[in-house]
């Protein structure tokens, strides 16, 4: 069985394609009719304040949340209905989802490796652990690790299947600057060598500015900006993405249009 190379309408499948996506929880509109497509090898940051709809959008891309209407397609598969066709080609990392505490790092990576059907698993576990400076921690329980070490294990889990699509939710939250920089470098290397498509949700604007080649900014579930970080900075006449983000976030409540 092969993954669909084309969508139902005959167009070549982008790694990620979101069309008229909407999610309503009771009376709260979490995501409101958004459209975007991501090309292979791109790194796209989803930005927005708390409650902007970033997590809900990523959850719909993973198929963990079913949209109220519209579609989220990954490698051509509708994630609400046929996510199992493509889940082995993607992975995700978030400090808000843990791994089993009582298992050692090695056991955790072996379990997830089996779930993803990784070949030569023992060798792969050692390989990825070495790459992420975890070799000395392989037989230590996950629950005994520091926050930085846990993040590296989470990243190892996210890369164990060599994913073509990587979803990252605050990948460097709670890390010291040195470790955070190291993680960013690793992510950059992986994306460059693997030509992986990345969706990144982050509140760290320096991180976004360094990693992302595109920014999709959400507010109240709607896309209010979709351009490169440099374009956004330039449009608002600022020098950093953080300044541009603050300018957008603090603009007048009645200013419906996004104007510098």
């Amino acid at each position: 069985m092969h993954e669909p190379m084309f969508q139902e309408d005959g167009h070549a499948a982008l790694p990620v394609q979101v069309q008229a996506l909407r999610k309503v929880y009771s009376d709260v509109v979490a995501v409101d009719d958004i459209d975007f497509g991501l090309r292979k090898g791109s790194i796209t940051a989803l930005l927005g304040g708390n409650g902007a709809g970033k997590t809900t959008t990523i959850s719909m891309l993973m198929g963990l949340v079913i949209p109220t209407s519209g579609t989220a397609r990954v490698f051509g598969a509708n994630m609400a209905r046929e996510r199992h066709k493509v889940l082995h080609r993607m992975n995700f990392e978030s400090p808000y989802v843990d791994a089993p505490m009582r298992l050692t790092v090695r056991q955790n990576l072996e379990v997830f490796g089996r779930l993803y059907g990784v070949r030569n698993l023992r060798r792969r576990v050692v390989e990825i652990a070495t790459e992420l400076r975890l070799a000395d921690l392989l037989d230590r329980r996950y629950g005994k690790l520091s926050a930085g070490q846990k993040t590296r294990v989470s990243l190892a889990k996210a890369l164990v299947n060599d994913p073509e699509l990587l979803l990252l939710d605050e990948p460097t939250a709670s890390l010291d600057p040195d470790t955070a920089d190291w993680v960013r470098t690793k992510l950059e290397q992986y994306c460059r060598t693997r030509a992986a498509t990345v969706v990144l949700a982050s509140h760290n604007m320096a991180e976004v500015e360094r990693l992302a080649d595109r920014v999709i900014m959400l507010e109240k579930g709607r896309i209010i900006a979709d351009e490169t970080p440099q374009e956004l900075i330039k449009r608002f006449g600022r020098t950093t993405l953080e300044e541009a983000f603050l300018a957008i976030a603090r603009r007048g409540a009645n200013d419906a249009e996004l104007q510098p």
Partner: protein, 277 residues
């Protein structure tokens, strides 16, 4: 389904077996990592067995019925524990994913819901073995009650009880999936509502007539009636086991449907992402 060079084939029985084995290993590592958890598996069945065993010894000394029905209580309590431990083994393994905040990883992985259920069933069997083998041995040593002397009958009793325990496990896992850890107590307590209804220690005729149809709609009732037939009359009633099995098929189908329904509702309500109370 084609996979990259790093990955094996993703569809077919071998791929499913690999994922199920991965989950069984995950739970086995937890059992192995903590002796208090292993001790907890044995603790309650042992306490129950000793309590009812000594009660039966006392009653045998003062009444002729209890003397005649040696093994009635102790057999009942051992079989009851198979039902309860089977359900808890299933449900608690599932709760582990909530406690360790790991459910998001699993639901995002290629693991299918049916494979997760298969792994939980295997884990409940492993936990049953860990709990019941030592307790059954002690029942033999303390009270000369040999569960295996029931022979083929024991296999039928065991099978019917474990299938029912998985049906309850499916419903309780589904409820937790939908409503989060706020509904955790449901998973711990659901089996105990059956204790008075499925007539573990007394015949169905003991119940008021209006309650008897409820009891007869429950597969374990036939198992415990079957145990009494063996202990009191020395006969193995195949019909009772067949009725229990047919009912079990219906209950398992309902349990699986409930789990699938709750999983779908959890995806609609976004509770897989929240995973809290």
């Amino acid at each position: 389904m084609s996979a990259g060079p790093r990955l094996r084939e993703q569809t077919g029985p071998a791929a499913s077996a690999g994922r199920i084995w991965g989950m069984v290993l995950r739970y086995w590592y937890v059992i192995r990592s903590s002796w208090p958890r292993t001790a907890e598996l044995i603790y309650w069945p042992l306490v129950q067995m000793l309590t009812w065993g000594f009660l039966q010894t006392y009653l045998a000394q003062v009444t002729s019925l209890a003397g005649h029905a040696a093994g009635l209580f102790i057999g009942g309590v051992l079989l009851w524990d198979i039902l309860v431990r089977g359900q808890l083994g299933f449900a608690v393994a599932f709760l582990e994913e909530f406690w360790s905040r790991n459910l998001g990883h699993l639901m995002m992985s290629p693991l299918r819901p049916a494979e997760l259920v298969a792994a939980l069933i295997l884990v409940s069997l492993i936990k049953l073995a860990v709990a019941m083998v030592p307790v059954a041995l002690m029942a033999y040593l303390f009270f000369s009650f040999n569960l295996l002397s029931l022979g083929v009958a024991f296999a039928a009793l065991f099978a019917n009880l474990t299938i029912m325990s998985w049906s309850m496990g499916l419903v309780s896992a589904g409820v937790v999936l939908r409503w989060g850890l706020g509904a955790e107590s449901f998973a711990w307590l659901v089996a105990f509502v059956l204790l008075p209804l499925c007539c573990v220690y007394y015949p169905v005729t003991t119940l008021p007539s209006w309650l008897q149809p409820v009891a007869l709609a429950l597969p374990p009732t036939y198992v415990f009636e079957g145990l009494r037939a063996i202990v009191l009359d020395g006969t193995f009633d195949v019909q009772l086991m067949a009725k229990a099995f047919v009912l079990n098929l219906a209950y398992f189908a309902m349990g699986a449907a409930a789990f699938a329904f709750f999983l779908h509702r959890a995806r609609v309500h976004g509770s897989l992402v929240q995973m809290g109370e």
